[in-house]
Amino acid sequence: MSVLDPSSGTPLLRIRGLEKAYGQVTVLRGVDLDVAKGEVVTVIGPSGGGKTTLLRCVNFLETYDKGSIRIDGEEVGYQDGPRRAMRSERDLARMRAETGMVFQMFNLFPHLTAAENVMLGLVKVRRKPKAEARAIAEHWLRRVGLAEKLDRLPSELSGGQQQRVGIARAVAMDPKILLLDEITSALDPELVGEVLDVVLQLASEGMTMLVVTHEIGFARDVSNRVVFMADGLIAAAGPPRELFGGAIEVERLRAFLSRFGARV
């Protein structure tokens, strides 16, 4: 299986030749990546390799310099056509609503309760009546095991609980693709499991996901494909069995994995 091989038709997410630099520092050097509908693709690799930047570009939290990102055939961030012009604020918001994102630092709205965090996008973006939004929020918070915490402020929740609210906030919008950015890196070790369980559950239900993680074991369990990124490029990619099993011989990957002691 190659990087560019989604088994069926046009991929949901299609990234071609993606380049991004912060001033003199080049972060992405021409990334090609496809994610098919229902697929879970995990991005691993050393820090500073461009994983998080790649993810943030897909949601247009970062602009990108060259290349193309398409979701359902629609160019992310820039207007279609030869001139590279930014989309309008309204258009950007509409497209961002189609992708869900969960952050390393949770980024919950601290002035809103768990339920209100989930409801904000439903009410203001999806224009749902309050009662309906509340019902959807309750549904998703129950799904992530927080039925008892609906009306708690983020400051009253543990890190693991906050991150589960973060997941509920993202999936409640019914996104086409869910982006997870090192969502367990800021958690105490004993809280990681409860968050990853929720993600595994979503994956098993067919949610399309692009996941950046340092949890190698989790990447192995959840992914259809794993992508190894280093120095702004995809250095290796394949099903977890191949990538972690030693079938793919890439020196950087071998060195990276040996640090985790994570040969499978």
Binding site: L61, E89, R96, N107, H111, M173
Partner: protein, 216 residues
Amino acid sequence: MLAAILYAIPFLMQGLLTTIVVSLLVVVLSTAIGGLMGIGLVYGPAPVRWLVRGFSDIVRGIPILVLIFFIYYGLPIAGLNLQPFSAAVLALTVFKSAQVIENVRGAIGSIPRGQMDAGKAVGLTFAQRLAYVIAPQAIRRFLPPWINGVTDAVKGSALVSLLGVTDLMHAMQQVIGRTYNALPLYVLGAIIYFVINYGLSALSRMLERRFSYIRE
């Protein structure tokens, strides 16, 4: 002394009303103008940021009294003649707007970047992110220095008496001019200013508690 104070009170009421009107006008106008300029300073494109930064630095570098005289005596030379009342309100508004700009910048700057990201990720537009994500969090940081500024505006409004506007301060001086008894009047004036500003401070503390839902 009490007799002198009781005699003066009716004469001061008209002045007090002017002081309150001037203060209110200045606070409302400067909050609106300074608020918009502050948002421009934080989120605007480079030229807007430079303009606001320049305005704020220049105004805050000039004594308020110089600003008042400049607008009242200086602008007519440039062909703009303002009534004393308008000139005083304009000068105080310009001065206070510069403070509000810095209040807004500080309040928004205290909010983690991730909040804007999260608002974007949910699909909120810029205006919605300001209204539902940034403002509710920034208000708590904005209020204490802003109310400080409001008390400054009330106190600073005494300077309009220098342009002959009959505010509380000017009314006091008129009574003194008739009675030649300065001390009771200044005591009374001080008490009135103090009561207003102490009330504002108490209101400030109450609002701070009201908005203290964010624990850090």
